[in-house]
Symmetry: C2
DNA sequence: CAGTGGTCTAGACCACTGG
DNA sequence: CAGTGGTCTAGACCACTGC
């Protein structure tokens, strides 16, 4: 049907696992999982960039020498993980943080009344942006060594004039070389969108640890609350492909007018 | 192949939508979605009970007069929503809160060190259990009218001797008629498991709103912290089938030794 | 070994998008 | 209208479980 493309990239079905070592793991991997890994690699290497479309299912099926159904199942999983987005009749697109309707994809803070859209865009104020050496505390979640160079950024987000979020962000200095307070201030759009376009770093997944803490003097001033006021502490580690941590973020949220929303199933 | 069962329950493929009214919605529903609804109905009515296996894919395919692949896709979605659980070689089982390895499925509080299992089971202390009339605050999330009868339950959960969670639970009195403090105290296992077995109410999904608050006198005493201590306020609405709210729960969590864990993607 | 869920294929047709 | 993703089928075979 379709002509054969990229003869070197097609997978070999392996029913038998590697038998090296004392491996007790069967390690059977179905074809569609292997295809998924191959597509993932192309996403990682930037063969298809955020926002762009990837080849059609038929094209990929031809390229990998498998049926359309198998490619489909691979893409199903990538779609479920929000790595790609399908649009019927148009194609499959690499997910991005830059689209308007998925902005602040990782932000779970909602206004108590109305929804995010009724609130308008957040006003952002950069407090600080400096290069420094990572303490052990910061280095570990980023899988760096203490003393490695990191960028630290502090900012306040306000909604309708009310300062609501105080965030400290730590980034490994290497991948984010050249990031400045100025660039951040002049950029309109989510921070993760800037990371994509300027540094080629796609945040794919994140983990958050949430606690209740009392506002210290610095936080109290910036968030305009009394010292000791309870605040939501949100510590986020964000990962790019391959579970590689690329950002550590410590946020303090005011929850007198907003709440953190979570869905369980 | 298989003989035809339940001739009355097979769906009619409807490509054309209902055209009544000013309906602008195409309302096209694929076959597998219709099958999913039918399976859902059987789950709801209790044709298959929590923990039991449902008929095999082949049997369901015969019953609904569709191919195995179509049934499979319907079950795929139910499985993704945690309504059923598949086990290769064994069958598909109705999900339950009673299994050991999925206990406390909705509890996101984790110890800072170690994991949930290293901590051992929670010690539970029932403070109070009474029948009363719902205030507007309580009635609305449960879609009751103010003044309707509800059961209120207050309890403390402790981990390794340290009181950590103070919870107030409100339940509609109707479906939970007969629930007593004594029954709760003598039951060993998750509360939601008791709801399943004794009252036939399966919690399927929940929403949580999280805030930071200061401990009041009552909470401070029960959780053994100073008055004013920041606590995590977790307000949960839990739903059974059909998005019917069946429980309102307001928890106060100590987060000095534990944290609320969330995964974003 | 039979029965279950899980994978894979090939082909047909449908719904949606854009030129 | 051609091209895309979405649905559905029928049949083959594989991996896993328990008897």
């Amino acid at each position: 049907m379709a002509t054969i493309l990229s003869p070197l990239t097609h997978p070999v079905a392996l029913t038998a696992a590697s038998e090296a070592g004392a491996g007790v793991t069967p390690a059977f991997s179905p074809l569609y999982q292997q295809i998924k890994v191959l597509i993932l690699k192309s996403l990682q290497t930037g063969e298809w960039k955020p926002g762009e479309s990837i080849p059609s299912e038929m094209d990929l099926a031809a390229r990998f020498r498998v049926s359309q159904g198998t490619v489909r199942k691979a893409i199903d999983e990538l779609s479920a993980e929000n790595l790609v987005m399908r649009r019927q009749g148009k194609g499959t697109f690499v997910a991005t943080h830059a689209e308007h309707h998925v902005q602040y994809r990782f932000l779970r803070l909602m206004p108590d009344k109305g929804d995010t859209s009724s609130e308008g865009p957040a006003e952002r104020r950069i407090i600080d942006c400096k290069r420094q050496r990572a303490s052990a505390d910061i280095a570990r979640p980023l899988t760096l060594r203490p003393g490695d160079a990191v960028l630290q950024l502090r900012r306040v987000l306000a909604f309708q004039g009310a300062p609501t979020i105080l965030e400290d962000v730590w980034l490994p200095a290497g991948p984010f070389k050249g990031l400045t307070a100025e660039r951040l201030a002049t950029y309109h759009g989510p921070m993760y969108a800037l990371f994509e376009t300027e540094f080629g770093v796609r945040m794919v997944r994140a983990e958050e640890k949430i606690r209740a803490v009392a506002a210290d003097a610095a936080a109290a001033e910036l968030l305009e609350v009394p010292v000791g006021e309870p605040l939501l502490s949100v510590e986020r580690t964000a990962f790019t492909y391959n579970d590689l941590p690329m950002e550590l973020r410590r946020g303090l949220y005011r929850t007198d007018t907003h709440h953190y929303k979570n869905e369980l199933s």
